[in-house]
């Protein structure tokens, strides 16, 4: 999709992104963050992604698209933190297939920013198991005004 211009850039995030750095945890969806080209009206929508995948025979399932047996949820980069996370995602391979995963430090920042109960729960295990670049993390948290949230979260533990 990047090659044909349907999306500008993508990276794996969510639970599967977290699994890259920590022990496997249960999830049934694959979250893919995407940077989308702006439409002619300046709107950012997933329509082109869905149309492209439909044309290749993949069907929608609730808020996901089933791609080769995996329910994939596409999440547009909806704020500057996610835009940066996408820009700085790390290249890796899955078996022989090249792919990209968000950096561990950005996953921490996104979990703090999103702050659903499951994010806070996952954050505890993630921080205990993932290898984090503390300086890089501190800079990300400062840029997105999350330092106090991080300190508060750590203080509660």
């Amino acid at each position: 999709m990047e090659r044909v211009g349907v999306i500008r850039r993508y990276a794996i995030g969510g639970a599967v992104g977290a699994i890259y750095y920590m022990e496997p945890i249960l999830t049934y969806d694959l979250d893919i963050f995407v940077q989308l080209p702006a439409s002619s009206q300046g709107l950012v929508t997933l329509t082109a992604v869905y149309e492209y995948l439909r044309s290749r025979g993949y069907a929608e399932e609730r808020d996901c698209i089933n791609i080769e047996g995996v329910p994939v949820q596409f999440l547009p980069a909806f704020n500057p933190l996610i835009e940066e996370a996408l820009a700085e995602a790390r290249d890796t391979t899955f078996e022989q297939t090249p792919t990209r995963v968000l950096r561990a430090e950005h996953l921490v920042a996104i979990m703090l920013q999103t702050a659903r109960a499951k994010d806070r729960e996952r954050l505890a295990s993630f921080v205990a198991e993932a290898v984090l670049d503390e300086d890089y993390l501190a800079a990300v948290l400062a840029r997105y005004d999350l330092t106090a949230t991080w300190q508060q979260w750590r203080g509660q533990r």
Binding site: I19, M22, P24, L26, T27, Y28
Partner: protein
Amino acid sequence: MNAELEKMLSAKQARRQRLAAMPFPEKVRALVRLQAMVAPIQRAKGRSVRAWRLEPESYR
């Protein structure tokens, strides 16, 4: 904390660190096995879930 409990928690933490250090494809294989184990329970609770169907066979 008594010594026995401390030993148990530290062994648990060491196991988690070992799992975290596994290669990504191996972790995904473990995830798919986990999904297959838990899916019947989730479905019994009314959630519509299923384990991923990934190739090759080793993922199943």
